[in-house]
């Protein structure tokens, strides 16, 4: 096909993509975000599938059968099993405005600038081969489509005639348009995410289209395809399972893919930084694996189809997706497939470059710039964007250089795996940091450095050596080791042979990495700053951690506002601080206190723009800080959790108070209603007949008494509950006390026509020699007795009412029972009667009570260490009883 057509189609596609991004940005500005949707989130994760998937998987499958699979099973496992890990990463990043994986690790270990720089370097060096892979894929595809040889795309020419260079620059331009258009650095890239989600759909559909064409266009369905494959020995060999199942290699690949799907800078960008809602993770946990399944269904059919169609070894399997439709005379499908492949490559490059540019800008360039006086006071918003754009161009050019150097020696998949192994080095420091408070900066740094060094030696150096670019002498390094030292050979370190180069590299690098991380962390305890960050990260889901701020010192509001303004722009800074002030219920920024919380707020806002390490340095430069010791950190944690306890108690007391207030209000209004109504009626009818007036006045008096009783009992209850009640304890003679109570209620029982029977033992034994049998407040006990007796009097039948007051004693104490022959208390009311303002019985009997008698009695009995209970069978009377232990409370004498 003509280059003009191909380039035209590619440009048209990129413009359409840009249109999607611009549309999403406009929607976001209008407040109708398109990325607030779990499907878009899951699709944007599809950026995992790059040109590697699109071209490389088929190549891998054509060579080794099912070996393309672990790279997709890994992420599937990771998402299904480890989505809570992802959710925690999102929560942490949201809480502390973390915008990259370098920032995440650095922030966790005390906001260390050195660590941030180190992680950034690893990520940068690690993703360069990956970017090169995309360039290689696109340029091979372009060469094939325009009729050239895909195996030597543009190589013989000088660099200025190399199409790959122009592809790299074109992609850099688009990335800049997508990712760094806004002057506001902290905002999410809504447009980019929408475009990536769209790309995921495009590449999936294009790949499936080719797969369907191969299965049903070239052959009579998959069954026919595989039947024919088995008939050709060279092809059948690919499908044959290996004689020995390579557990080690499967394990290494699965582990690598599991770690990569979370730690690759672009995955961290779309899964964590661009996430708008934690709940989307749940949907993505199955939707993303489903996407991976769909895009892999036709890998094997296309690979086998290509081998059958062209014959083994006749065409490059990595471009079967294009060469099959071309050879079969369906150029439009080849063009669709080309756009799909371009889609896969551009998506990866755009997100990866944006993620890496953020890291390089915040964690490598900025710390150096900020040290220079010339930049110390300038407004830096524009500069930040400029740096990011330069980094994007730089990354693409580095990718191009790697492609020129090493691109020919390796297949797409192998290049990609080198990148995977690099980012896998983040695992110990990052996962350890999220779940283990003991991890230290020293351990993380040493682990990362050792892991990265071993990765470079065992994977990166061989990849360059095998390219032959540095001459054959350099290549002997692999076979004889440096200076002829055999045990330093990159692919057989310490003589460890028998593993494939990837498993070998992964084994040594992760072993050294994790070993140093754990070992050094245990060797010396973390500093105060590390410990405080550890608490913030590990306990991010605990409510206690909200509101913890580990900072002490003095600051001025104006300094903080102007500092944030330098990086975010003065207008945005002002509106951020105003929003913060409003949330605290203040009118304006000037009313804010420059306290630890405000400093923390300012630092978090800055961290979103320039990374937590730089933010820390900048904030420290405008405030006076006290150095926190580890003890201070622990004290702040304790204070915060104490404060939370007190708050919770106050809240529950508040609710209790509300309930009681509502009940008290009702109880007060009810008698007031009768009193007011009757008084008004008498006022408005001067000619009311005398008996009527007497009845009304009688009711008014009764209701007034009821009000007084209520007020007294509410006060009494409040006193007892708050512990302000007075207790005049003395030695109690229970027999005398009960007889007195019976006397006091004799009149009441006579009125009701009921009999009261007193059953007392001959004497109450005094235990333990001369000690008094019982110490308590006689008046309070009488109050309980009178309450129980008058309740009983209310409920006994009008004829033949009988109440028994009985005292029994045993070794433990005394039990007093009030037994009536009334209707009893229904089961469902037996607990209720002890609640405040709840009364048993029917309305006709009620006006006497306030609903507080029993609750108060119970409180009194319990104060003396006893128990008050009810035993009743409906229809067979009821028995209210309380026990008092011989040894009362420790002589709690009169409390003023």
């Amino acid at each position: 096909m003509s280059p003009a057509l191909i380039i035209g189609a590619a440009l048209a596609y990129l413009l359409a993509l840009f249109g999607v991004a611009a549309w999403a940005d406009r929607r976001a500005a209008a407040g109708r975000s398109v990325i607030g949707n779990a499907w878009v989130y899951a699709l944007s994760m599809g950026v995992y599938c790059t040109a590697w998937t699109y071209f490389g998987s088929v190549g891998r499958a054509a060579a080794t059968g099912v070996w393309f699979l672990p790279i997709y099973l890994g992420p599937t496992l990771a998402m299904v099993l480890a989505w809570p890990v992802l959710r925690k990463m999102i929560r942490i990043s949201r809480a502390y405005r973390i915008t990259s994986i370098a920032d995440f690790i650095a922030s966790r270990y005390g906001k260390s600038a050195a660590l941030a720089g180190g992680v950034t370097l690893i990520a940068l060096v690690g993703v360069v081969p990956y970017v090169a892979l995309q360039l290689k894929a696109v340029s091979s595809a372009y060469a094939l489509m325009t009729g050239g040889s895909p195996d030597a795309p543009g190589l013989p020419g000088a660099w200025w005639a190399d199409t790959t260079l122009y592809i790299a620059l074109l992609l850099a331009g688009f990335t800049i348009l997508f990712g760094t258009r806004h002057l506001d650095n902290t905002e999410r890239h809504e447009g980019m995410v929408a475009a990536i989600a769209a790309e995921s759909v495009v590449k999936l559909l294009a790949f499936i289209a080719v797969g369907v064409f191969v299965c049903w266009g070239l052959f009579n369905g998959p069954a026919d395809l595989f039947a024919r494959a088995r008939a050709v020995p060279e092809v059948a060999r690919v499908l044959q399972p290996a004689a020995r199942f390579a557990y080690d290699q499967w394990f290494a690949l699965l582990l690598l893919a599991m770690l990569s799907v979370i730690f690759l800078p672009r995955q961290f960008q779309v899964m964590v930084v661009e996430n708008v809602d934690e709940r989307h993770v749940r949907r993505a946990a199955w939707a993303f694996p489903a996407y991976l399944l769909l895009i892999n269904i036709f890998v094997l059919p296309i690979a086998v189809g290509g081998l059958l169609f062209f014959g083994t070894g006749q065409a490059n399997p990595e471009t079967f997706v294009l060469s099959l439709p071309l050879a079969a005379g369906v150029p439009w499908l080849a063009l669709v497939a080309f756009v799909g492949g371009l889609s896969a490559a551009t998506g990866m490059v755009i997100v990866e470059a944006i993620a890496v540019s953020t890291m390089v800008c915040n964690d490598l360039v900025l710390p150096l710039l900020l040290r220079r006086k010339a930049f110390a006071q300038r407004e830096l918003t524009g500069l930040l964007l400029g740096i990011r754009r330069a980094v994007i161009v730089g990354l693409l050019l580095l990718g191009y250089v790697y492609f020129r150097v090493a691109g020919e020696a390796y297949a797409l998949v192998s290049i990609g795996l080198i990148s995977f192994a690099a980012v896998a080095q983040f695992a110990p420091a990052l996962l350890g940091g999220m779940y283990w408070k003991g991890g230290t900066q020293r351990g993380a740094f040493a682990g990362l450095a050792a892991g990265a060094a071993l990765w470079a030696w065992t994977l990166m150096v061989p990849s360059i050596a095998k390219s032959g670019w540095l001459g054959d002498d350099f290549a002997t390094l692999l076979t004889h080791g440096p200076w002829g030292i055999g045990w330093l050979r990159p692919e057989q370190l310490l003589g460890l042979g028998g593993l494939d180069n990837l498993s070998h590299a992964l084994f040594w690098s992760l072993l050294a990495n994790a070993g140093l991380y754990v070992g050094l962390s245990l060797w010396k305890p973390p500093s105060a700053r590390e410990a405080s960050q550890a608490l913030l990260f590990v306990d991010v889901f605990e409510r206690a951690s909200a509101g913890r701020v580990f900072w002490r010192g003095r600051a001025r509001v104006a300094d903080l506002v102007s500092l944030v303004g330098r990086f975010l722009g003065p207008e945005r800074a002002t509106s951020l601080f105003l929003g913060y002030a409003r949330r605290l219920g203040r009118q304006g920024v000037e009313q804010l206190d420059a306290d630890a919380a405000l400093v923390h707020f300012a630092e978090t806002q800055l961290a979103g723009a320039i990374g937590s390490a730089s933010a820390r340095v900048m904030v420290a430069s405008v405030v006076e800080e006290e150095v926190l010791e580890i003890d201070d950190v622990m004290r702040i944690v304790e204070e915060a959790s104490e404060l939370r306890h007190v708050n919770e108690r106050l809240l529950s007391l508040d609710r209790l108070k509300d309930d009681i207030m509502s009940s008290v209000t009702h109880e007060l209004r009810t008698p007031l209603t009768s009193i007011r109504a009757l008084a008004e009626l008498m006022r408005d009818a001067p000619d009311m007949d005398e008996p009527q007036r007497q009845q009304f006045l009688g009711i008014v008096v009764t209701e007034t008494e009821r009000l007084s009783r209520l007020v007294n009992q509410v006060l009494d209850m409040a006193k007892i509950e708050s512990g302000h009640a007075e207790w005049h304890n003395s030695d109690i003679d229970l027999r005398a006390l009960l007889q007195q109570a019976a006397l006091s209620t004799a009149e009441l029982f006579r009125e009701r026509g009921a009999t009261l029977v007193l059953t007392l033992p001959e004497s109450v034994p005094a235990l333990r020699g001369e000690l008094p049998a019982l110490r308590a407040d006689a008046d309070r006990l009488t109050q309980v007795l009178l309450n129980l007796l008058s309740n009983a009097a209310k409920f006994v039948p009008r004829e033949g009412g009988r109440v028994e007051l009985r005292l029994t004693t045993d070794a433990l104490g005394a039990t007093i029972e009030v037994i009536d022959n009334g209707p009893g208390v229904p089961l469902e009311q037996q607990q209720l009667v002890f609640e405040k303002f709840r009364q048993g019985g029917d309305a006709a009997h009620r006006p006497q009570g306030t609903g507080l008698g029993l609750p108060i009695s119970r409180q009194i009995v319990e104060h003396f260490g006893g128990r008050l209970w009810l035993r009743s069978e409906p229809g067979a009377g009821s028995c209210f009883a309380f026990s008092l232990p011989w040894a009362g409370p420790k002589d709690e004498e009169t409390r003023p």
Binding site: T665, T673, R676, A677, L681, Q695, F696, E703, A844
Partner: protein, 121 residues
């Protein structure tokens, strides 16, 4: 024809005062002491208006009102809720179950009488 008013309240003294007030106003009065009794009286007496207390044993005023409104044959009966709880949520709940009016206790007898006259006009 003289209109009929049913008073439902579990406080005997409030019942006495309301009964006196409504009779003085010239309505035919019947009384009920709890929610269940009130519903029975509504079916039996077919009053034109019910003065309905909210906090009653058996069935609360809200439940009585809801049951009344759910019964087609009882359409046209006016309901004036009376309650000692005067919170906004209670008012909203009362009107939500279909009460025609709502007064909090303690009420002014004049206002209550005027309100009943207006509702029965």
């Amino acid at each position: 024809m003289t209109k009929k008013v049913l008073i439902a309240d579990d406080e005997p003294n409030i019942l006495i005062s309301l009964e006196f007030l409504m009779k003085r106003e010239g309505w035919l009065v019947s009384v009920a002491r709890d929610g269940i009794e009130a519903l029975a009286a509504i079916h039996r007496e077919r009053p034109d208006l019910v003065l309905l207390d909210v906090m009653m044993p058996g069935k609360s005023g809200f439940e009585v009102c809801a049951a009344l409104r759910a019964d087609e044959s009882l359409a046209g009966i006016k309901v004036l809720m009376l309650t000692a709880k005067g919170r906004d949520t209670d008012v909203a709940q009362g009107l939500g179950v279909g009460a025609d009016g709502y007064m909090t206790k303690p009420f002014s007898t004049k206002e209550l009488a005027a309100r009943v006259r207006e509702m029965l006009a």
